[in-house]
């Protein structure tokens, strides 16, 4: 299992569009993917779950990846967070 801490860096935070992109990215991989924030444990393959995470700019989220392709999944998704969801 891989665990990575990421920070929300874009101004608008994790809103609908990045939520949809994250779920689409996660769907490409077999590995389980979860987002943990403030005691919430959200399955990253669930759009409604990811939309529920009120993650504004500056908040930190712990991502976990578990499965055969966890490394590739972690790389692509963490990278997307670090790019500020391409909104920087």
């Amino acid at each position: 299992m891989i665990e990575k801490k990421v920070k929300i860096v874009n101004n608008a935070g994790l809103h609908t569009r990045p939520a949809a992109t994250i779920v689409k990215l996660a769907a490409k991989y077999k590995s389980d993917f979860f987002l943990n924030k403030d005691g919430l444990h959200i399955n990253g393959k669930s759009i409604i779950g990811v939309m529920t995470l009120a993650a504004e700019k500056g908040s930190e989220i712990v991502l976990t990846f578990d499965g055969a392709d966890e490394e590739q999944a972690a790389q692509e998704i963490v990278d997307y967070f670090n790019r500020g969801f391409d909104e920087m």
């Binding site: 809103h15 409604i48 529920t52 909104e87």
Partner: protein, 581 residues
């Protein structure tokens, strides 16, 4: 007539008059039954069918929305469609139906409400709104589980009365011939208002309790000019409005006849009429009203559409589309005027935002954000019909610093082999009194000036225009305001710098004669105001206007100036125009 008790007053969100039956659009809560079921398989099939049906409906709405509202606003529906395929949500609903053996509607309600209740706890307005979207999809699934039709049988030719209007409602309503919109909530920028304006349907919003006062099938009159709704009008009111409609349509015909003609006074002075652009959807309307170009694109609107800082590519797409559509006309793009009372995506609480971090101040403190916009505007300028304008300028160094950034962007684009107009015109808004007093110095740095009356007045008179308590002190025609406008115009002429006006005053039929008399030659107003202003200008004599302005410059109080411009309007402007307002 305003003393009658059947009149409700709200915000005039889209002009026009209609008389029709009320259609009360209520989203009544579905009764949810938690009955135990005997056939689990049957329930699961029912669920699958309801999900498939919901998906079908949303796809239809999505494609309609792309057509009517543009791709950006349609994106919410894409997320709704994804929820119907959400593996976690759907499998937990199915598991619970199998284990608890209760009706799917109960499980769907319970399961999705877990998410919406977390979201509605959020302090972020944005999250609360998203919870409405998810509520929307929940109700759609439940309706389909009960095999009820989602769209109420809305008939043609009604005035829709509703508490609030969701994006999906507006899209659905636009398919039938709705005569008008009346809502309890919402302001000028609500969905109902924007869509109504772009479809040319009268709308009155923000009435608070219209849905309680108006009954289904009541006959109502909607007056989108004055923000009035009349319930079950008496004969006198009906007659009055029927006559108004008649006059309006006759007037419309006349306006249509002059649409290709210039805004020329009877003694041959031509006034340039430009349009203000709020949302890209209004484009066809602008072309229809024959504006010579766009005097102001309010780019901060992009935040509302994208709900985030749009990147360079997205901005480039929007700006170049506008520039292409309006070509060979000119388009003036104003840099983001964020902060103050305008949308600011960053959570920031200033004790006095109108005197705080807004307009050019915010842009220069965020050079990365500013450069993104400058690059997008430059790239959209390849047809040489784009101008760029800076908001809230108070000092010369703000212009000089901006020009440095513009030069940097030009250099970068040159290195990247990207095309742009090397001689793109740069202008500033004159809305801070300090800038109004330095036209000579600014003229050496820039190519044009645009007077923003709303802010100029509030900064000159130290009155917050949004504050009811001091609203009487907000005097549009305060002698100092009129004299300052005159000073800006004459200084602009002296130093060969074009002056236009894009504030609300420029669209006020009572103010226009005075403004033209003060020497203003370019007006930028909302597209819908252009035909009637043109009609007014075509009935005026320029020499009279100069006389009016000279007189007003000598007056000492707003009361006298107001009286004088109203008298002028009553004496000089043809009766048929007067009666419309």
């Amino acid at each position: 007539m305003n003393t009658k008790t059947n009149i409700l007053k709200g915000i005039a969100a889209a002009p026009g008059i209609a008389i029709a039956e009320a259609f009360l659009y209520k989203k009544e809560k579905e009764e949810i039954s938690s009955d135990v079921i005997s056939d689990v398989d049957d329930a699961l099939v029912n669920l699958d069918n309801a999900l498939a049906q919901s998906k079908k409906e949303l796809r239809k709405i999505f494609s309609l929305a792309v057509d009517k509202l543009g791709e950006k606003r349609a994106a919410i529906f894409e997320a709704q469609i994804m929820i119907l395929d959400d593996p976690v949500l759907i499998s937990s609903i199915k598991d619970r139906i199998s284990s608890e053996k209760r009706l799917p509607e109960y499980i769907v309600e319970d399961e999705i409400s877990k998410y919406t209740s977390i979201m509605s706890l959020s302090h972020e307005v944005y999250m609360k709104e998203r919870s409405h979207d998810i509520e929307d999809i929940k109700n759609r699934i439940i309706k389909n589980l009960k095999k009820k039709k989602w769209t109420s049988k809305i008939s043609d030719d009604v005035i829709v009365v509703t508490s609030n209007i969701s994006p999906s409602d507006t899209v659905l309503f636009s398919r039938v011939n709705v005569k008008g919109y009346v809502t309890d909530f919402g302001g000028l920028t609500s969905h109902a208002a924007i869509v109504a304006r772009s479809l040319n349907i009268p709308a009155v919003v923000g009435l608070h309790d219209a849905t309680n006062k108006i009954n289904e099938r009541d006959k109502i009159i909607i007056d989108g000019f004055h923000g009035l709704v009349i319930i079950n009008p008496d004969n006198e009111q009906l007659q009055e409005y029927h006559e108004r409609i008649k006059r309006l349509s006759k007037y419309d015909e006349e306006l249509y006849k002059i649409r290709e003609l210039p805004a020329l006074t009877t003694d041959g002075k031509e006034i340039e009429m430009l349009a203000n652009l709020d949302v890209s959807d209004e484009m066809s309307f602008i072309i229809h009203n024959c504006a010579k170009g766009i005097g102001l694109v309010r780019t901060e609107q992009l935040f509302e559409e994208y709900e985030e800082f749009p990147d360079e590519e997205r901005q480039y797409e929007v700006y170049s589309k506008i520039a292409e559509q309006v070509y060979p006309g000119i388009v003036t793009i104003r840099a983001f005027d964020i902060g103050g009372d305008k949308v600011l995506p960053v959570d920031l609480h200033e004790p006095n935002p109108m005197l705080g971090w807004r307009g050019i101040r915010l842009l220069l403190d965020n050079p990365h954000l500013f450069k993104t916009q400058i690059r997008a505007v430059l790239r959209a300028s390849t047809h040489k019909n784009v101008k760029f304008m800076l908001p809230m300028i108070a000092s010369l160094n703000e212009v000089q610093d901006s020009k440095k950034l513009i030069d940097e962007c030009k250099k970068e684009l040159h290195q990247e082999n990207k095309r742009y107009d090397k001689n793109i015109s740069l202008g500033i808004m004159i809305e801070v009194p300090s800038a109004a007093l330095m036209i000579k110095e600014f003229s050496e740095e820039i190519d044009f000036l645009s007077i923003g009356t709303n802010d100029l007045i509030q900064y000159m008179l130290a009155v917050d225009r949004g504050n009811d308590i001091v609203s009487k002190q907000y005097q549009e025609f305060h002698p100092s305001v009129v004299r300052t406008i005159q000073y800006i115009i004459s200084e602009g002429k002296k130093y060969n710098t074009n002056v236009s006006m894009c504030g609300e005053m420029a669209a006020d039929p009572f103010a226009v004669p005075l403004l033209l008399g003060l020497g203003l030659e370019t007006l930028s107003v909302s597209a819908s105001a252009i035909p009637s202003l043109k009609k007014i200008i075509r009935s005026l004599n320029y020499a009279d206007l100069i006389k009016l302005a000279e007189d007003c410059l000598k007056l000492k109080t707003e009361y006298e100036i107001n009286k004088s411009i109203h008298e002028f309007f009553n004496n000089k402007i043809q009766d048929q125009i007067k009666n419309l307002y």
